[in-house]
């Protein structure tokens, strides 16, 4: 049962083969057994969770169920949830209890889905390995000595270990797609502005976007129907008509023009990853897709641009943690300034501090034009690369990450090496485009483990339905997405 999709479990609930309370309890039991080692969840609240399941059963009995009613979903601990501890992976928020619900939490609640618990993440979503979490590292279920990716590493590991039916993530520079790739699941970052950021603890506001992490594209389409929609409480939320993201799932792919950016297959891409991605592309040709060579010439610049813009926005966003209204306050301090400085020094971890310092520096007097403005100018060049590319193709494909999951501790001490993990994902956030990763196969590690490889699919603005169509067609023809790691029975 644990390997069933949201769609299948939903049908079982609707058909009264199982109740939401039973299903939820099954996943809670699995969490009890497997989470102490994997550490995918930071906070559980079984009473609250089971009360929600009970309510879902009532909705189903009353014939008021929706596609997600009664399904247990892991929520990334970046989303504020009323009455739930919400830590964002930080000591700063170790005791923070959400006083309200994030938009995404409200939407899942309204659909009747069950909040199974809050998943682990890199502190304030800053990281690509889940090693910066104050609440400990997360194991990759495919090889416990390796990282699950980040920042939505807890969500990815939870879905991979079948501790939940699906989970939510957020993606500022690749934080949904890269862990999805490393853990062998499907993850989608929507077009910027489709999902509300209200109640999602801010990292880099002009890049942050939430999205689904699930076992299949069909499941992600169901979740997209819940997650997206206008919210007046988010000033960047787009007021568009609601879409049904399942509408194009079964369209044939014949004639689909797929762009292959030469920069995504150049130096820096691991040979084992390249091989799997090429095989996936061959499969797409069989499905009738047509390959087009394209170029995204400014790809390399996306990393320096990102490491100006994201820290700059973060330094501003994280200034709210002052030890006055909520969050950590130092035990001992002198005057007000000392209280700020000590509370923040104690509450933030090393990577978060580094990014705040970088952001503070690039925004400081005299440097604004050289760094921030320059980065925003190059950001436009990067967006124009995609605009030009989409004149030649419908969607773009390439690797999600340059390598498979790396060993825990391998790059933890070298921020620049860690940043290069996001070389194929960051430009998508800078341009505000939708991007997703789907399982495309495995590459063997040197010690014989099977490590998942993700195929990235990038669409034009608001083209999520077409991307999901492309992903679903592939998942009908292959079974990479249904494979499970060993040792999670």
């Amino acid at each position: 049962m644990i390997n069933k999709s949201l769609k299948q479990l939903g049908a079982m609930l609707q058909g009264k083969e199982i109740s939401s309370v039973e299903l939820t309890q099954e996943f809670l039991n699995r969490i009890d057994r497997l989470n102490p080692a994997i550490n995918a969840f930071i906070t559980l609240d079984k009473d609250r969770t089971l009360a929600q399941a009970k309510r879902a059963d009532e909705m189903l009995s009353a014939g008021k169920g929706t596609a997600l009613t009664g399904l247990p979903i892991g929520q990334k601990d970046i989303f504020v949830a009323k009455g739930w501890r919400t830590t964002c992976g930080s000591k700063m928020l170790e005791t923070f209890i959400g006083p309200y619900d994030a938009d995404i939490i409200e939407r899942f609640d309204a659909s009747g889905a069950v909040n199974l618990g809050k998943t682990n993440m890199d502190e304030f979503a800053m990281g690509s390995s889940n090693e910066t979490s104050y609440f400990g590292k997360v194991q990759n279920p495919w090889d416990r000595s390796r990282v699950p990716g980040g920042s939505s590493g807890g969500s990815a590991a939870a879905v991979a270990a079948r501790l939940c039916a699906a989970a939510t993530g957020t993606d500022t520079g690749g934080s949904i797609r890269q862990p999805a790739s490393l853990c062998g699941l499907s993850g989608l970052k929507p077009t910027y502005g489709l999902a509300s950021r209200f109640g999602m603890i801010a990292f880099a506001s002009s890049l942050d976007q939430s999205g689904p992490m699930a076992k299949s594209c069909e499941d992600m389409a169901l979740m997209m129907n819940v997650i997206t929609g206008f919210d007046k409480r988010d000033s960047t939320s787009l007021n568009r008509e609601k879409e049904d993201y399942t509408r194009d799932l079964n369209k044939p792919l014949a004639g689909l023009k797929v762009g292959l950016p030469k920069e995504y297959f150049a130096e820096g891409l691991g040979a084992d990853v390249a091989k799997v991605v090429q095989e996936a592309i061959a499969e797409y040709k069989k499905l009738g897709a047509e390959m087009v060579d394209i170029s995204l010439p400014n790809t390399q610049l996306s990393i320096p641009v990102y490491y100006v813009l994201a820290p700059a926005e973060a330094s501003s966003n994280l200034s709210r943690f002052d030890g006055v209204r909520y969050g950590h306050r130092a035990k001992e301090y002198g005057d007000l300034m000392d209280m700020y400085c000590k509370s923040r020094a104690e509450g933030f971890g090393a990577e978060v501090k580094r990014r705040i310092l970088i952001g503070t520096y690039v925004l400081s007097a005299g440097y604004y034009d050289a760094y921030y403005l320059k980065a925003q100018q190059i950001r436009r060049l990067i967006a124009q690369d995609f605009e030009n590319a989409f004149k030649q193709c419908d969607i773009i494909m390439g690797p999600t990450a340059p390598s498979t999951a790396f060993k825990t501790g391998e790059t933890a001490d070298d921020p620049v090496a860690m940043y290069l993990q996001d070389i194929y994902t960051i430009a998508v956030n800078l341009a505000g485009l939708p991007g997703m990763s789907i399982p495309a196969g495995f590459a063997p590690s040197e010690d014989g483990k099977r490590l998942p490889v993700g195929l990235q699919i990038i669409g034009n603005y608001f083209d999520e339905a077409r991307m999901l169509n492309a992903g679903h067609a592939y998942q009908q023809a292959t079974d990479w997405h249904t494979q499970m790691p060993e040792g999670i029975e």
Partner: protein, 95 residues
């Protein structure tokens, strides 16, 4: 642009984060690496390019100037580090 340990302390003060000398030294090497990465931008000619802050061409929405929020002081102060009689407590700033 190369930084030194004193620069780190100055930036940390602007960011309201306390750093001691050892931390400043350790941070210096990491930040120098990151700034080296960022420096790649300077090779690009960006003359005349309009900076991009958002991907969609959107303007700030306006709303009616009416009260929309209710007072939830007790709820919000229940998670504050230090409060008294409805006020947030901080060290004395005015003698």
């Amino acid at each position: 642009m190369s930084l030194n340990s004193a620069d780190i302390k100055r930036i940390a003060h602007l960011a309201r984060i306390e750093v001691n000398d050892t931390e400043a030294e350790a941070t210096l090497s990491k930040l120098t690496g990151i700034l080296g990465l960022i420096e790649q931008m300077q090779a690009v000619d960006t003359t005349g390019i309009v900076p991009m802050s958002h991907s969609q061409d959107v303007t700030q929405r306006l709303r009616e100037d009416v009260v929309t929020e209710t007072n939830q002081r007790e709820l919000f102060q229940s998670i504050a580090p230090s409060v008294e009689e409805g006020l947030y407590l901080v060290p004395k700033v005015i003698e």
